[in-house]
């Protein structure tokens, strides 16, 4: 991955004398001091971050914290007071009006909180807007608009007017309008906040699905933590115009940077956020070609009554319990290949704990966790899940696999 957007020391001061406020920021004075002395409001206070190509970068914060201002500085709908915004290495804060228009036409597209559909245009004519201002011929732009309308599931609504659509459909048009431009970067300003909870979840799923196919770079603003955790590859927490923490959803939950974030995260349904890889422990394993003695040795080391068996490529073959092993030894067997393995299901490292609970509840055995290439990566025991849900998560104190059978 490479950096698509680089924001360096971004500052936005609202007021008539931004210079004065800027020099005070450099001296390290607080927002409150600056407001009291100059009457200037610091909207964005020295913010730096990088957005990688193809990632969904969520900017999260309460209303009025400056997150929408940050987003609007990325395409200069709001003029930054200082700092730089690099898109593909090009500093857009230094562009002239015409060059800026080119960037807005070709690289970025925006989706708005209140949909912002043009009321005098049909769905189709709303969707072609971006290409229309670029001067793309009518036939071609309408073809592409129809394609993106189909992508968001709005075939057949081309000739309707915005006021004939429901909120969810309006935002689909907003999304289609942005996608028609085929931008590298989607800027989404609280795009789903105005929707009903059910529709909102539907749109989030839809966005994730589309993103798998499109692989755009998305900067998504929200005040809804569960939304941020659900769709974000990384989350930037903003408070009072400053970045508090930038990290993955799991890290936000497990290692909040300060009391503010921790307070936010407290009410989160952890099962929807934590992944199998966050709660799994290391597990011993043996290969099919090992001798039976090795199986007993591994079980003893782990203090367990069973062991995962893998093949030469680390692919899970099944589980061998101590019972089976001892019976086999009595019967005079030597090789593991001769034995019957208990077949167990495995989950991917990316599985949400919510689903893990469903599987693990029906089984007494530890749950095997495999990586993307189907190789055994670890295992999850019941107590690890409980510990994680109770908020004691974190790799250090996850209990290691402890076999109990029978």
């Amino acid at each position: 991955m490479s950096a698509k957007i680089e924001v360096k020391n971004l500052v936005k001061v609202f007021g008539s004398q931004p210079r004065k406020a800027l020099s005070m920021i450099e001296k390290g004075m607080s927002k409150e001091q600056i407001l009291a002395e100059t009457g200037q409001t610091v909207g964005v206070n020295d913010v730096s971050f990088t957005v990688e190509t193809g990632e969904i970068f969520v900017v999260m914060g309460l209303s009025g914290c400056g997150k929408s201002t940050i987003l609007r500085c990325l395409n200069r709908l709001i003029e930054p007071s200082s700092g730089s915004v690099l898109i593909d290495g090009q500093d857009i804060t230094k562009l002239k009006a015409r060059e800026l228009r080119m960037v807005r036409q070709n690289k970025t597209a925006m989706v708005f909180q209140q949909f912002a559909l043009l009321p005098h245009r049909t769905v189709l004519h709303n969707t072609v807007y971006g290409l229309e201002v670029q001067g793309v011929p009518k036939e071609q732009r309408e073809k592409r608009a129809r394609e993106s309308l189909a992508m968001v599931g709005l075939n057949g609504w081309e000739n309707s007017y915005p006021d004939e659509l429901s909120g969810g459909m309006k935002q689909r048009v907003g999304l289609a309008r942005a996608l028609t431009n085929d931008p590298d970067i989607l800027l989404m300003d609280e795009a789903f906040s105005a929707l009903d909870p059910l529709i909102r979840e539907e749109m989030q799923d839809e966005l994730l699905k589309l993103q798998q196919a499109m692989n755009k770079t998305i900067v998504f603003i929200t005040h809804d933590l569960s939304e941020a955790l659900k769709i974000g590859d990384r989350i930037a927490f903003v408070r009072d115009g400053s970045l508090v923490q930038v990290s993955s959803p799991e890290d936000i939950i497990n290692h909040p940077a300060d009391a503010y974030v921790a307070n936010f995260v407290r009410g989160v349904e952890r099962s929807k956020v934590l992944l199998a890889k966050d709660v799994m422990g290391d597990t011993g394993s043996i290969t099919l070609s090992d001798e039976l003695g090795k199986a007993i040795q591994v079980m003893e080391e782990g203090g367990a009554a069973g062991v995962f068996v893998i093949d030469r490529d680390s692919r899970l073959q099944g589980v061998l319990t101590s019972e089976t092993v001892f019976k086999a030894i009595k019967a005079g067997a030597v090789s593991i290949r001769e034995l019957e393995l208990i077949q167990v299901s495995a989950v991917s490292v990316e599985t949400k704990i919510q689903e893990v609970i469903n599987i693990i509840a029906r089984s007494k055995l530890p749950l095997a966790v495999v990586d993307n290439e189907n190789r055994l990566a670890g295992s999850i025991v019941h107590s690890a899940v409980l510990a994680a849900l109770a908020g004691k998560g974190g790799e250090e104190d996850v209990p290691t696999t402890n076999w109990t059978t029978g």
Binding site: A116, L118, R121, N159
Partner: protein
């Protein structure tokens, strides 16, 4: 106490303008008169029933059969009262005044919406135009443009244009911020932003202003008639001076009929543009 010589200054100014630019005013007046006369002759060339038919079709398409029926009834009544030539005179005056108001007023309103400083300068001027008694500028208008339709158009425009300016300004200022942001975020040029977003979104408000302009210009017909514009106003004046109340009433009624038709037609126009877009 020293008395400010405002009156003398105005007198002097008018005299100075007449002496130095009198000829220019004559040329200007002549060309406008030519235009108005051409328009009037063209309208007179259309048979009365064809014009009524045209209005009926327009009314039917924009608002439906009720307005079509009402318009037909009203116009036939005007024809029946032998007011057809007066109707054409007044129609020409109103249309020319409305056109001039739109052509001047809408751009001025746009500039006012973009520049708050210009808006501040414009506001008192508009107050002047709307509230200064029209007789005050009718006399100098007569001196500059001579008797006839041209000073009438001038006086009507002065009185009727402000709503077009004010409501254009208001309409554009009221375009929701996020729609303007859409324009900018998708890389529109300022001209595209104006044409594709601000003006269309502001159009209902602008049309309300143009509608008001037409209504106000109709209310000027009597005053316009005093300086030789003809039309229904002349009929009303004649009725008053001859103590012929019935004649005055007939002409007044005709003004009302014309006003109602123009009002409903222009209101229907907005709904019409919308359905037109749908059919495309």
């Amino acid at each position: 106490m020293y008395r400010l010589p405002i009156g003398q200054l105005v007198n002097g100014g008018v005299q100075w303008l007449l002496e130095h630019y009198g000829h220019a005013f004559d040329v200007f007046s002549g060309s406008i008169a030519h235009l108005v006369d051409g328009f009037r002759t063209g309208l007179a060339w259309i048979p009365w029933w064809a014009l009524i038919l045209l209005v009926i079709v327009l009314a039917w398409r924009s608002e439906g059969w009720r307005l079509a029926l009402g318009s037909a009834f009203g116009l036939l009544l005007i024809y029946n009262l032998s007011l057809w030539p007066a109707f054409l005179d007044t129609l020409v005056l109103v249309i020319i005044a409305a056109l001039v108001s739109i052509v001047l007023g809408v751009p001025i309103g746009i500039v006012a919406a973009y520049s708050s400083r210009f808006h501040r300068i414009m506001s008192p001027i508009l107050d002047f135009m709307q509230t200064m008694p029209s007789f005050v500028y009718l006399i100098p208008a007569l001196m500059f443009f001579g008797l006839g339709t041209v000073p009438a158009v001038f006086a009507t425009v002065v009185f009727a244009m402000p709503p077009a300016i004010r409501l254009t300004n208001l309409g554009i200022r009221q375009v929701p911020v996020d729609l303007v942001e859409v324009g900018e975020a998708f890389g529109s040029s300022p001209v595209q932003l104006l044409w594709k977003i601000q003006l269309p979104v502001a159009m209902p408000t602008i049309m309300a202003g143009i509608n008001q302009t037409m209504m106000l210009s109709l209310s000027m017909v009597v005053i316009a008639a005093m300086i030789g514009a003809g039309g229904f106003g002349a009929g009303v004046l004649a009725g008053i001076s001859q103590m012929d109340i019935g004649k005055g009433f007939e002409n007044g009624l005709a003004v009302v009929i014309l006003a109602m038709i123009l009002d409903r037609l222009s209101q229907g126009f907005i709904r019409n543009t919308r359905t037109a877009d749908k059919k495309k």
